[in-house]
Symmetry: C2
Subunit: 229 residues, 2 copies
Amino acid sequence: MNAQPTDASIDTRQRLIEAAILTFAEKGFDGAGIREIALRAKANSALVTYHFSGKEGLYLEALRYIFARKACRVAELATAPALEGPEARKDAIQRLKDHIRAFMQDLMACDPLDPQDPLGEAAMALMAREMQAPRATSSALLMEQIRPHVDHLMQCLQVLRPDLSWGDLLNMGMSIQGQLLYFRNSLGIARLIRSNPNYPEDLEEVIRHFTDFSLRGLGIPEAFPQPRN
Amino acid sequence: MNAQPTDASIDTRQRLIEAAILTFAEKGFDGAGIREIALRAKANSALVTYHFSGKEGLYLEALRYIFARKACRVAELATAPALEGPEARKDAIQRLKDHIRAFMQDLMACDPLDPQDPLGEAAMALMAREMQAPRATSSALLMEQIRPHVDHLMQCLQVLRPDLSWGDLLNMGMSIQGQLLYFRNSLGIARLIRSNPNYPEDLEEVIRHFTDFSLRGLGIPEAFPQPRN
DNA sequence: TCAAGAATTAATCAATCGTTTGAACCAGTC
DNA sequence: GACTGGTTCAAACGATTGATTAATTCTTGA
């Protein structure tokens, strides 16, 4: 009379999801096969339909799995109260700095060179694929996940540049976010160009660069520690 | 006794290639089928093997076709002579502006002379897919295409910020290039966020933003038309 | 006009795709 | 031990994949 999922089945589900993340990230949705994923998870391919009602369902669960465990630092920031009072502007600058740091730390939380966590890179690669060519069934899922981060960033920008239109502010946000994500997605090339397989050796230095570049690009007077010349 | 290709066959080849660009851009390499491509080109699917010796060959030819006729603006710039003389700094700023405009126009393939070219957008979407997840057989082709553009950008940055180390300059280049490529790679999400499937409606406005943001971020005094406040 | 080669076609190939099936397995409950 | 419901499995399903075949059409130089 028991209708509860078994511990063992939860294990199988998780193995399938993690194998799916790895395989989907490597080959894309169409390139990855059910049998290949199941083999990787040491499970039977029929279980994909049984547990997730098909390949598409497994893909969505893989995305949810990523969202549930990643991007936790930025998520914390997004719960901050509204910016108000005389200190609003100063707070906004600090909050923007925190946002960049948190986002970078989330992005790098799982280094692709780190053998401990191959899931990290795969998850980011899958996210990148999904952002570039959102699937019809998953774009809503992606949007609701990203929305709070966008809102948090935009809230800061709005305080810092109240003179700009919403479209211009979105452009600013896009430039800032773009630097960070591109940095993560092109780490391999960057390491080759610099002939330094360990780049970045000091993440703080990169965070400082992105912070300075973004604040200057944003056009905030107090953030111009004039370039040395 | 004639062993020359027919005019008609060249036509068929071109129709297949262009249909391939459209379809590969929409669905990716694995998602697109040769029957679908052939149907779009109003040709027989067996001709894919006959003319290109297979699907992979058609894909490579599609990439070559793009390289041969698109992305020419940045390629032209990359042939410019070295920056010298008293005007070097002014020239470098202009050259950087031209680089951003040319790169953006190449990315979006919005040719004022050739408006509404569905092939252009598809071609760049295909490139974006390829840059994010390079296929083993085509990554070399892609690299040799991109390298000159990177070199050209770095040359400008070196003149504009001679006080910076090479590593810092690479960071600057990464920030600038990152904005542009991320913009292209995340068009899908950007359109969702803005609830505007036609974004960007005015490419010049986006180019202006990226130029301003980059020059300010770069920390060039003469590029600070102080933000209105 | 006619043979030769290039180009195109419909039909078919083996392989693989995601999914379905039906039986087995493995807890627990009576 | 019989029963139940969740879980797993090997086998097979129909559909579709890229590739191939052999016959046909088209083009062209002799």
